[in-house]
Amino acid sequence: MTTLPLDRFSLAEDRRRLTLRRGALVAVLAALLAGVFALTLSLGQSYTPPGEVLRVLLGEEVQGAGFTVGQLRLPRAVLSVLAGLSFGMAGVAFQTMLRNPLASPDIVGVSSGASAAAVFAIVVLSMKGPAVSVVAVLAGLAVALSVYGLSFRNGVAGTRLILVGIGVSAMLESLVAYILTQAPEWTLQEVLRWLTGSVNGARLDQAMPLLAALLVFGGLLLGCARNLMALRLGDDTAAALGVRVSLTRLVIIVSAVGLIATATAVTGPIAFVAFLSGPIAARIAGTRGSLLIPSALVGALLVLAGDYVGQFLLPIRYPVGVVTGALGAPFLIYLLVRVNRSGGSL
């Protein structure tokens, strides 16, 4: 850790440098994301020249490429990016708020709540489209709030919240497993979506709820980014700095859950993306300043690249959740060891 410069001018200078560096880094991440996005559009089973891809994107009728790019690759890539942004941003919001990198929505039960609700809505209530997203968001919120309520005892300790979340998600996962066994007519692909997350069979109209959620909830999260940063110092310090702790917490929980649940209703709970994005972003960007945007970009990169790897670079086509899940395992071990050794910051 470097010593902080103490006089006023060098503090301002330091701050300006940090902002600049952060800006450059976000730009690099965004450029990388755009690059991978372009790659997934033009290179799949067959190669489509960038010129043709561009013409398809501009809405022209192109023989052949119109189908492969416009119908197959574009919806997939768009959904991957949107879901990744949502998972990444919501994940780091939870991790920062609870001051524990392991307290990501996929571990504390939010993802499994949304996924259980989505499966229930689809299989048992035979719902479709946006209605599923609404149900998933409501159930995700209900699960998050009940986890919060159940861990309330003279205030909410982060530890208790994580453990209660683990219990709740164990229950919900067995509910998902049960509903899936009751739906024998489903294909294995469809089942896998709800067990591990996948963007197979993506359609462009599925992107709308995701986009809306990103605008609303993502905007809310970015709006309280400063308060979120203050929460990192501990609830008491944050309160002393003038942050209304419980209100901030509520806003963050609602918006993070909104993001996670909307994305989960479309792609299923893509394993570990919410969990990994924040810590990876922290490694790249340092822990000073808000990690929401870097982490969202990392999440999008993870899903996009994970899906590409799963589709084309492995001997068998795997859904993206299997790739991110397997990729996540070694990183998770590293993270657990590091967190346990140092005591819990990102």
Partner: protein, 335 residues
């Protein structure tokens, strides 16, 4: 809580559990998707297989047996595990041991074409052992050793990772996917003597080791330093007891698939009955586990009539609230 309940209470607990087990066994044979008459039950138990009812009863017998064996193994394993880790949240399901066993079995089936139950058991035990060591090592890195939170997190996170590895292994193999998926939920339905017999030696050795470690677990409960002061070789005692739970969990998982929460609930309830002395707690937990799993299996048959709810789902639904209750009771230290 007193260290040990008075002897009459302990004996009463023992006998009432035995009676409950007998009663549940009887219920398990008589209740099911199909209503059968008493004469058919008697005939079915006597080995006749002439009517559908008699055949149903004949199928329920091995199922009951498997539930008793697996339940007692899981209950006992949970009690030993909570003793070894001095952790109220220890459970073969929470700590990822069952998922490890499941992954090993799935890998064995998909890559090495294992078919015999013996091979299932060996690979399950190996997988359970590896994941137990991994999770414990991950959870105990750092200054304050294996706290409940660190262990639970390490177990959950490892379970998620292993579960996606299971999918990765199963996915290319459409031929085995269906079977593995139903096995993975954890159930005792469709049990047969062929599936039970190969598991028994492992269970027996695991049972013996676990029961023999009772005295050492009592010393360990006082803390590592005190146990060492009492002349216990702490790492050896811990490894010995852990070997017992690994054998039990691996064997139970090989026979029924991963079943969670039995190992969590049972020791806690049994501690309320007989106190903290492991020499009593361990056998009582084994009995209690058998009762709980049987009860869960019977409930699963009643609730979802005419279909059946797999026992793993029932235990998760009963167990998760219990887990949350324990979390709320304990003053769990901050990470």
């Amino acid at each position: 809580m007193s260290v040990r309940a008075p002897l009459p209470i302990r004996s009463l607990a023992l006998f009432s559990l035995l009676a409950a087990l007998a009663g549940l066994c009887a219920l398990s044979v008589t209740i099911g998707s199909r209503d059968v008459s008493w004469s058919e039950i008697v005939a079915g138990l006597a080995g006749h297989n002439d009517t559908i009812g008699e055949a149903a009863v004949a199928l329920r017998v091995p199922r009951t047996l498997l539930a008793v064996i697996a339940g007692s193994a899981l209950g006992l394993a949970g009690a030993v595990m909570q003793g070894v880790t001095r952790n109220p949240l220890a459970d073969p399901g929470i700590l990822g041991v069952n998922t490890g066993a499941a992954l090993a079995v799935v890998v064995g089936v998909a890559w090495f074409n294992i078919v015999s139950t013996e091979a299932y058991v060996w690979s399950a035990v190996a997988g359970a052992g590896c994941s137990a060591v991994l999770v414990y090592a991950l959870g105990s890195v750092g200054r304050d050793g294996a706290t409940p939170l660190k262990l639970a997190l390490a177990g959950t996170a490892t379970s998620i990772a292993l579960a996606s590895l299971i999918i990765a292994v199963v996915l290319p193999r459409n031929d085995i996917a269906g079977g593995i998926r139903s096995w993975q939920i954890g159930g005792v339905g469709g049990a047969s003597y062929d599936r039970i017999l190969p598991v028994l030696p492992f269970m027996a050795v695991g049972l013996a080791i676990s029961l023999l470690s009772a005295r050492q677990l009592n010393s360990l409960a006082l803390g590592d330093d005190m146990a060492a002061g009492l002349g216990e070789r702490v790492p050896v005692a811990r490894a010995f007891a852990a070997l017992g739970t690994i054998l039990l969990c691996g064997a139970a998982t090989a026979a029924c698939g991963p079943i969670g929460f039995v190992g969590l609930i049972v020791p806690h309830l049994c501690r309320l009955l007989v106190g903290l002395d492991h020499r009593w707690l361990l056998p009582i937990s084994a009995l209690g586990g058998a009762c709980l799993l049987l009860l869960a299996d019977i409930l699963g048959r009643i609730i979802a009539r005419p279909a059946e709810l797999d026992v793993g789902i029932v235990t998760a639904f009963v167990g998760a609230p219990f887990f949350i209750w324990i979390v709320r009771q304990q003053r769990i230290r901050q990470l």
